[in-house]
Amino acid sequence: MTWIFDLILLVFMVITALISLHVKDLLSAAMIFGVYSFLMCLLWAGMGAVDVAFTEAAVGAGVSAVFLISTVLRTSRRSSD
């Protein structure tokens, strides 16, 4: 029955990817991109790739989100599209 959870995770990943590209506020986009990375990491942990999963959780969701937020705070927060 784990494939049902996989389906839910995959659908949520597509939704979060679309939302993070759609919102006008760049800080929100960075945070929703962090959510996307964590969902991806959960999926990989379920697929048996634990080493990839915790690297993604630390580096993808953590460091990437920090980079994006620091850039947004140093530049402008508003996006035209």
Partner: protein, 179 residues
Amino acid sequence: MEFLQHIADSFNYWIFIILMMIGLYAMVAKNNLVKKLIGMSIFQTAIILFYVSIGYKENATIPILSHALIHEVHHEEAGHYKEAVQEAHHDEGNAAEAAHAAAEYAAEKAGKYLEHSDHAILDINPDDYVNPLVHVLMLTAIVVGVATLGVGLAITQKLYGEFGTVEESEIIEAIKFEK
């Protein structure tokens, strides 16, 4: 339910294609440089998802051997090696004795391995473990992805210092105006 199961088997690959195209669209069509870089990261994680999906097997576990027998053999070998080394050190200066002890240890190790190898090899079934090769490759890809994201965001900050905006169209306008 059967039909859903069939879809679920290849669902990872469908989602991989969708996510990759979302990322490509963002890189090409979005006007904001930060949005472009988010699109690039989505593109990269989609490709990593594809590779991890290749290595996945049904009813398989993480690629770590968990058989007690192998540990036992290794412990015994370590004990024998310790004894051999202690013996060699006991008769210091006697090179022939040390060489003999080493040879004895090697022969003993080979015998031990043959004795236990039948069980050790029969116990390991590759179908029980997901393929770890793609995981190792994708670990590198994740780190490279973060590095490219960091370089891209650094360039974005530099451009903001130069032009006062992160919108691509406004930057191109300003460059044209300067000329």
